[in-house]
Structure formats: C-alpha cells, structure tokens
Amino acid sequence: MILPYFVLLPLLAAFLIALLAGKKDDWAIALSFMATLSILALSVFGFITMREQTFTYAMSGWNIPIGICLVQDALSLFMLFMISLIALTSLCFSVQYIRHLAQDWKYYALFMLLLTGMNGVVVTGDLFNLYVFMEIALIAAFALVAYGCRAEEYEASFKYAIMGGFSSSVILIAIALTYSSTSTLTLAGIAQALPGLDQRLVMWIAALFLVGFGLKAAAIPFHTWLPDAHSSAPAPISSMLSGVLIKALGIYVLIRLFYNVFNAPPLFMNLLLIIGSVSIMLGVFLAIGQWDLKRLLAYHSISQIGYILLGLGLATPLGILGAVFHLFNHAIFKSLLFYGAGAVEMVLGTRNLKKMGKLAHLLPITAGTNMVASLSISGIPPFNGFFSKLILIIAAIQAGHPVYAFWAILGSLLTLASFMKVQRYGFYGEVEHQKPNIMPGKLIHAAMLILAVICLLSSLFIVPGIREHTLDPVVDVINNKIHYIELVYGRAL
C-alpha cells in the first residue's frame, strides 16, 4: 500500500533536515530532492497501475468508522502527481534562487511541510484530518511567504494569516455542524448520512464550506489575500502557491465535498457558475492594469481559477473534463510564468515591467519559455491552455449556457491582451541592460524547460486513446458523485 508514504516521506524529510543540517544547506537540498522524487515516482506508479480502483488505508489498523482512513482513487492520484511534479521543478528552481537570498536549510524544511500538508489534504478520507493537514500546509505557507524578511512580505504574510485564519474558522464551524448532525467525520459516512437530515441544515453546511474553501481557492469575492501573498513570496513558492496550493486546498476539496459528499446540489452548481464567471472577468480586468509582473500573474490565477469553477459548475461530464484538464494545465503554465518572473527578478532585481525591456537576447531561455507559457495561458493552439479552454467553452454551450461561454471567450481574449503587454514591455521592450552579475544556472533552466515541454505534451492528454488512460478515470470519480460511498466502504475490510 503506497498511500501513507505520500505524507510520511516529506514529513520525515522535514524533520531529518532540521536534525541533520548544520549551517549549510547541502543536506537539506539532498533530502528534499530525495523525498520529492520518491513521491513523484510513487504517484506515477500509482496512477499507471491503480487508476481504475479505489483503495482505503486504515491508519493504526483501526477500520472506519472508528479510525481515520486514507482514500486513494484516480482523482487523488492525479492531484498527487501534479503536486509532486510542480514541487520537483520548484525545488530545482529554489537551489540557486534561495542561495541568492540566503543560504539556509529552514526554507527546505518548511517546503517539505508545505508538501506534507498538501499531500495529506489530497489523500485523507476524513474531514477533520483534512482540516489538520490544511493547517499544516497553511502555516508553512505563511512562513514561506515572509521568507524574504522585508516589510511588504511581512504585511502580505500577515494578511494571508488573517484571511487564512478566518476561512479556517468558517470551515471549523462547518465541520462542527456536520459532526453534530451526522456523528461521523469520515467523508463517505457523511455522504451516507446527509440525505436523511433536514435539507436546510445541509444547505447551510454546504454554504459555510463554500465560503471557507472558496477563500482558500481565492475565487472572486474571497480573493483579497491572494495578490499580496503570491506576489511577495519567493518565486518558487509563488509557483507552489499559485500552481498547486490553491488547487489542493481549494478546488480539490470543493470537488470532493460538492460532488462526492453533497452529490452536486443544483443551487451550489449555479453558485459555482456565477462565482466562476465573475472571477474570470474581474480577475483579468484587475490583471491587465498591473505593472508588477508577479502581481499581474497573481491576478491571472484568480481568473484561471474561475475557468475551473465554471467547468465544475456546469456539472456535465464534458465540463468536468475541461475543469480537470484546466486544473493540470494551469498548474504547469502558471508555475512556468512565475519561474520566468523569478529569474528576471533575480537577474535585474525588479518586477516592474517598465524597467525590464530588452531581455530576449540577454536571457534567451527565460524569454523563450515565458513565451510558451504566455501562449498557453492565453489559449493559443497547439499549447495545452487552448484545448482545456476550448472544452470548457463547448461544454458551456452544450449545457445550454451560451452566456457563460461568452464570458469565457472574452476572458481568454483579455488574457491574451495582458500577456501581449508582458511580452511587449517585459521581454521585447526598449530599455537596454548591461550584462548582469548573476545569471540563471542549469537547474533553473532545467526547471523551466521541463515545464515548457509539458505545456506542449499535455495537449496530448485530450487525444482519444490517451484520454481514456489519463483524464477519463479522474472525470469518472467526480462524475459518479456519491458512488464514492460504495467505493470507500466496499474496499474497507
């Protein structure tokens, strides 16, 4: 059974780093690479061999409903693969970038705790356990956002902590309500008990969860913490936060709760549609006026999260397919964009687009990979963003929501406009630069090139023949809704 190792390996690495690392960061780097590589290998192995099945793992040997169970299905393996892939490239990027700030092992210990928390949220099948892992990930994220130790970073981290604390309290109230009315915290058990309850209570619980996890996912009315936190963090952490944290803590939990536990109530599906389309439009409008590159990217995260919520709100198999596909694609190209911004910031010491200028000949690989990522996020074929947005738009029209399809198309055009601005001012502008003192090293280039290649390759996920083995099992898990109960209880011994 591979399931507990997704949590154990990074956790063990985090504490071994604290124990073994002296003043230097060599041990920390080696241990964190080992842990991340092993969970990447485990998730690939798991997805290839076990994607069609659902397994549960009883912690301490206590079976549900007494103990805590971990659940492994196609959706959780897919998320684990995405998280470990981004974590690995982010570590590659970190080595030079963090040494450039300060040589310190604490960064890697916190990074491993962040990974532990996200993996824990994804593998657990218990609501309170999920809350605990979410807090582990969040507290590590607060510390990492403030890692640069400048005033604005402390401010962003503090804001993030306040908003995170608020959303966690809302979630805790919802968990308390759930526990008092269903007497169980196992997600499958809750799903089983919910239809027998007063439906007004169920709607209130669902609303509290929507607010709490909506805040984690930074959808539009709950987005205020994101632009500060994601733009102030060190670049590899921005890519972890924007690429996977808001998805593991926000979108993934929303999918699990609203599809597999609450059985996709139509009221909340409509709410997701509205929140999604508002996020698409407002996110991109807020992004287009920004001159701070990382802030612009952070606002685009809100807009792209809107696309995922839109697909989920449609609640048709095609909409879910588009949402899952866009979830993966956004993780890839948004991380790549943040690496580009981080490399430029490391070399020039600025994030202001007006001060960047002619960088294409100075940083050819950064400029090239940034172009690939910009084309992907704007939805230009043959890059992955085009296909996922196309599926979402077709799904919206098929489901009888042409208005939402229109918002998605308009949002995509405005995204293209704002990334033309990034290319025009950031990489092909007029400002000339001298040869800088510090240049991105091999590992940074490797991280960027890997993701740029995946931007192209993951378009293939949608090709018939490959789709059946990659995205369809994930869509089945979501689309089967509360069939989850039987799968979880059926495998429990």
């Binding site: 504490f15 071994l16 604290a18 124990l19 912690m59 301490s60 040997g61 130790c149």
Partner: protein
C-alpha cells in the same frame, strides 16, 4: 525581555524548590497518559512551563548556562523523527502506520497498552521543547531591530 538578572531572591528561592515539583508533575502526567486523563501534550506543556519558570525567575543568561539550547533543539527534531520511525515500525511489524506492535500487557498497570506510552513520552518531549523554544526564540527578538532566527 532585556537581559536582566532575573527577579527578586524571594521568587528565585520559591522557583528553586517548585521547578522540580512542576517537572515531576509533568513527568507523572506523561507517564500515566494511557491510564488517567492527560498524556503527552498536557504533560509536555507542564514541563515547558517549568523551564519557562526558570527563565522568568533567573533571566535568560542563567538559563542558557543551565540548559544546553543547541542540544535541546536537536532533541526536539530527533523526538519527532523517532515518532515517525516508531510509526513506520508499525508498518513493519503490525499492519498499518502507527499500529500497535507490542503486547498489550495487564490493564491499569504502568507498563501496558503497547506503543501508546512510548508515543506519549515522545510527544511529551516534543511539546515541552517546542513550546519552550518558541518562547525562547520570541524572547530573543529585539522589537526595535527585528530579529534573526
């Protein structure tokens, strides 16, 4: 906290006696965690308070001589690593992570209930040192200059 030489002799004398009683009580709570209310966390907090009591009464420089802070930091990291190793032993000798792999023993005796007392002791050490070191680090920060951890 400025680097003072602590409080008055009255406080110091009382602390000299009481700190051992507090430590003893903390150890009692930890060791009887599987028999009575309390356990690793509650007992660990009591032990941390004993250390903090000394720090408040005698000042930081005395406490730094009395305790080896670097060693405490290492023990803290080692204790939680040991916790994970014990959990992994549960996979090796039992059937799941954190599973019990020792004999359950006689009910209500001090050496019973398998691995639970071991976990209680480890958690007690971890909580005691973590809480103490968090306050220690916070006390190090000079609010005027900002602090380096």
């Amino acid at each position: 906290m400025k680097d003072s030489h602590g409080m008055t002799p009255i406080v110091k004398t009382v602390t000299r006696v009481s700190v051992w009683l507090i430590l003893l009580y903390g150890c009692y709570i930890i060791l009887h965690g599987h028999l009575t209310p309390g356990g690793g966390f509650a007992g660990g907090v009591v032990i941390a308070l004993a250390f903090l009591n000394v720090m408040l009464a005698y000042g930081k420089s005395f406490t730094a001589e009395w305790l080896n802070i670097r060693l405490l930091k290492d023990i803290e990291a080692a204790s939680i690593t040991l916790f994970l190793v014990l959990g992994l032993l549960g996979i090796a000798f039992g059937n799941a992570f954190l599973a019990n792999f020792l004999g359950k023993g006689e009910m209500f005796s001090l050496f019973s209930s398998g691995t639970i007392p071991l976990f209680n002791i480890i958690i007690g050490i971890k909580v005691a040192l973590s809480l103490f070191l968090v306050v220690w680090v916070l006390a190090d920060i000079d609010s005027a200059k900002g602090g380096d951890l």
